[in-house]
Symmetry: C2
Subunit: 300 residues, 2 copies
């Protein structure tokens, strides 16, 4: 049985073809996320991207927003403890027109102490940790996830709106209006001051902290060119403080997984706070899909 | 000397004409905020709105964003303790073309423990409190202000981005995307649950709390029609918690000043949290301008 894994998110389509021994043979990527697909024509889109891979002997695992309410097949959420094999066994099967077998993976949810959801990030988590490991995996991004892993399974997690909040404040808020067009190259100091303010746990909280990025510039405490870096730091500082507090198992060193530049930015923030962090493996998603592809044969 | 006070903000132009005994004679309001004025033609705009009031015997106090960097004359910020008479004495005088005397009022700033600024809200504060009073004045809104007043003067304050954050999240974020078009009439319960969550001080913080308004709807904990009310509650709950913590003098009952519907909303939130609040006078701004107009003669 040939195995293909498709990571189909809102903006991007990424497909991986694995050999029978589980090695990655080929990959294909396109800006063909589910938001670009009209009238639910997902199967047409799939054939357009990787039609030449889709013979009847093929099993295709699909993950990401393609399995959401706005996707092709909405799958349930797996509750903690959520393991990689649990994901595979809860996949929803559908035949493709070509005769290939489609398996839509579930998402993972958290129900207590707070509701939370992920679709896709769990693959990176499983790619980054070993099947028996305890870990605190941090996936920075638009919606940063702090994932507590116990014995290789997701025990719980929290999402922080950090990256999206930064974009909202820079692009649409009164704070962003002071940022000079094309402002760049602000000092690293502005970012680190923001990180320390956000992490400080001062009682005025986030709604005030972000406003100080405007007020301080108006009062001449710093230059308007520093507002964006300061805002970024404030939000990441808040996330780091809350992330540790939300972790299920205390004392674990955060394992940073994701895009290199963003990981580096977080590593600088942790370091400035005197906190340890570790860099996770590159290509955690591919590794997660490889593991999943290998499992797919036996479980699904 | 005839006295006119102009509250000229980003979106609105409001002018008040007072008699020699300080009684309000006439008012004029237009959607002619400074953002509608092209090429700095503020004097043309002033004459278009209230030109018939502007004879040489007139003194005009101007307040609000018209005194900001994007306005007509940028005035300095008065530092705490900031009194009404301090405002009047620090006004920046300019002759108008008609011979009338323009007085641009300063803003008020806070320098420690955090930078903060206001332009215009201070008038409402002085309108709401007596010249010798201690008070905690809360002005809910796009940028809510919690103002500590000691012996009638502003001793310090904090701004919370509550209203703007609500608009950003509803209109531009992934959370807002789940809100059905035209959703309204959500239960008061959703708002109150949000207030309690936001006020709880749970360690996951605001960046996670707002995401739960999406995740909970996806998991069926509540209906998508409740997301907006829940978000509003979460943000107001965070503001109330942080507002009390930021107050300079403990133990004062918040005096709510501003637009009636918004004040009522906050009063419900305080009540649900078992906290006392009091409703400030209606028309605090007009009363503040009246007091200022009366002072203008002697001080400016």
């Amino acid at each position: 049985m040939k195995r293909i894994v498709v990571d189909w998110g809102s903006s991007n389509f990424r497909a991986y073809r694995f050999g029978v021994e589980g090695a990655l043979i080929e990959r294909h990527q396109a800006e063909a996320g589910i938001l670009t697909v009209r009238d639910g024509a997902f199967e047409d889109a799939l054939e357009r991207e990787i039609g030449h891979w889709l013979d009847p002997e093929t099993e295709i695992l699909l993950s990401g927003m393609i399995t959401s309410r706005n996707g092709w097949v909405e799958t349930p959420y797996l509750e903690p403890p959520a393991s990689l094999s649990g994901l595979a066994t809860r996949a929803v099967a559908r035949p493709a027109r070509t005769g290939a077998r489609l398996l839509f993976l579930p998402g993972v949810c958290n129900r207590a102490p707070q509701p939370d959801v992920m679709r896709g990030e769990e693959i990176q988590v499983f790619g980054a940790v070993s099947p028996t490991e305890d870990a605190l995996v941090v996936l920075p991004g638009t919606h940063s996830k702090w994932v507590s892993v116990r014995a290789g399974a997701i025990a719980g997690f929290s999402t922080f709106l950090t990256g999206e909040m930064f974009a909202l404040l820079c692009q649409h808020s009164i704070i962003g209006r002071l940022i000079p067009p094309g402002a760049a190259g602000a000092s690293n100091g502005a970012f680190l001051e923001g990180v320390k303010l956000g992490f400080s746990g001062n009682p005025r909280g986030l709604l005030n902290d972000v406003f100080t990025a405007r007020a301080g510039a108006l009062l001449g405490d710093f230059m308007p060119t520093e507002i964006a870096e300061r805002l970024s730091g404030i939000l990441i500082g808040h996330e780091i403080r809350a992330g540790f507090e939300s972790a299920i198992m205390p004392g674990l060193t955060p394992l940073l997984v994701g895009e290199a530049a963003l990981i580096a930015r977080y590593a600088v923030a942790f370091s400035a706070l005197g906190l340890a962090s570790a860099k996770g493996p590159d290509h955690a998603a591919v590794e997660g899909f490889r593991k999943l592809g290998a499992l797919g044969a036996s479980h699904a």
